[in-house]
Amino acid sequence: MSTARQPASVTPPPAAQEVLQRHYAGVASRFAAFAVDVGVSTGVFLAGLGGLAFAVSIVTRHSVSWSKDNIVVGIIFLAWLFTYYAYSWGGGRQDSRDGTAGGAGGCVRWHRSRPPAGVVRTLAFPLSFQFLGLGFLGILVQRDRRALHDLIAGTVVIYDWDARAARLRFLARESRTDPADPAQSPFTQTG
């Protein structure tokens, strides 16, 4: 194990800055988290549907196919989406008044008050899409970056990931890469 390297002179990327934690998340982070949530929820549903069709075909020896126009499949899909988002947005850790919970995107919601905030938020979420997505305007103009469904559910969205672990990973990367060659580092901001 070699020692006595020169300290890295590179500023940690935002993901590795603990000072940013628990700040209100912006529109890009929220959209990225939502996109990941949509991908994960749809992927898991399709995988489950495929698995179910396979199981049914083995038991009944008849091939089963699901149509997206099938009303039953549509209802099951909606119920799955509701369960996924209500749990993701409301099933996180909770202390006396506040709690955090997150979807697969890693951008975590901080619920201000009631335990069923995840349920209310999920039910109110489609409202933000109304009138050309006017409900999302609050993310851009409000200080606490709350959309319409956040206002209804009494929730806010904050950055909440393990920034310390990210910082350690960043420092490890810096120690492995050649300090003279910034092209080796994925982060090229200089401090």
Binding site: R5, A28, S29, R143, R169, A172
Partner: protein, 146 residues
Amino acid sequence: MLEFVDPVDRLRTAGKPMTDPLELRAQVVAEHVIDLVVHSLDMNYLVRQVDLNAVIAQVDLDELLARVDVNAIVRRVDIDALVEQTDIGAVIARSSGGVASDALDVLRSQAVGLDEFIARWVARLRRRAYTEAPAPPVRRRVRARP
């Protein structure tokens, strides 16, 4: 009324000018002798004669360690500097992180950077000052009154 008189007291007072220099000289001689003895000793030989295992066996390490506040010591260690200046970081990365974690870090950083970029432009359009991402106020814990 009779008082107690030390019979040797007068003799001691009289002899003091003579004993003081002698005492000083004796001290110098003693120091010199100790120096000579210590230098003539083979300390390595002496240490080899000591059964250190027996000495260590007498020490209650549990009691000794119980007195040490390990958490306080660890808190004083600058982990970041340690990771930065050694290969410990690489070991941590190998054990705790993978390509997916690194990719997630990059994605999060890009997203936060984009958040800031958008927030700055919106603030500029609204002619408002923008310094950093706003945060919820720190809530003070209110102790319930009995």
